[in-house]
Symmetry: C2
Subunit: 136 residues, 2 copies
DNA sequence: ACAGCAATCTGGACTTTGTCTAATATCCGG
DNA sequence: CCGGATATTAGACAAAGTCCAGATTGCTGT
């Protein structure tokens, strides 16, 4: 299945998002690349094409996608948030010197021995980040 | 053992840090509380006392402490970095609605099944963050 | 077609966190 | 007490993100 703009409209609708021109472009930027992009990068990509999309819209749209479960937020760099079109359970490897971020499939990763949560709390998600750097 | 300012001087020296007045105050803020503090919070605490410490010094000092292994950085909130005086291996629970951050001792937590690292890479650290919220 | 209305988009001002710089202050050895 | 290295400072700056009031878009019913 390819990530055409038409398919993006369907994807948005299936997540209860009104598929506007700008939203389709932003979704396309994320899904056609299958990469982790910052808001900045999304804006740059979307604005190399014909139509201009404002900063406010990029941020609003990414937040909307997040709420609707279309993308995931990855917080590894203190200076910017990355948005991840892969919402299946997985973890991340972060190369601290280059900023490169890649996925680890959660399928074979086992985390055991976590203490019980405080009462009345539910888990929203577990983020596992392996920070690596080039051996010196 | 109490976290007096005198003991802070020793702690700093043992980490190869010249114990100046400002550095002692900042270390004291972190270690006497044993809490996760942001740069902002550190500055607020340090400046309620007699002496004023500039923003630049607070940031410089926290970065220095980080390099010297005196504190650890915790990246869970896109808008600010927390500094953790606990450098022993441990993980974190983050309450997404309140911003409260607490420790999970790593002793009994087992993480298995991680894939091999790309060649030439070494692990700098593994961050495990359990994001929780009040059940609704 | 088109008036009315809700949803969306926009530029730009604003906030916050953090960095940088050049000048000043402090400390220490001789 | 001089001189150099180390530390601190105020304030300008940068980057990410938020907010708002006004303009656009795209339905809906007639």
């Amino acid at each position: 299945m390819h990530y055409t703009r038409d398919n993006m409209a369907g994807l948005l609708r299936s997540h209860d998002i009104n598929p506007t021109h700008q939203r389709i472009e932003i979704a396309h930027a994320l899904f056609s690349r299958q990469e982790h992009l910052s808001a900045d990068q999304v804006m740059a990509i979307v604005n190399t094409r014909h139509s201009e999309t404002s900063k406010a819209t990029v941020y609003n749209t990414l937040k909307l996608f997040l709420e609707k479960g279309l993308v995931r937020e990855v917080i590894v760099d203190p200076s910017k948030v990355f948005f991840d079109p892969n919402t299946s359970p997985h973890h991340h490897i972060y190369e601290v010197d280059t900023g490169k971020l890649s996925d680890i499939d959660a399928e074979h990763v086992q985390i055991s021995g976590l203490p019980p949560l405080p009462t009345g709390m539910v888990t929203e998600g577990i983020d596992l980040i392996v920070r690596v750097r080039r051996a010196s």
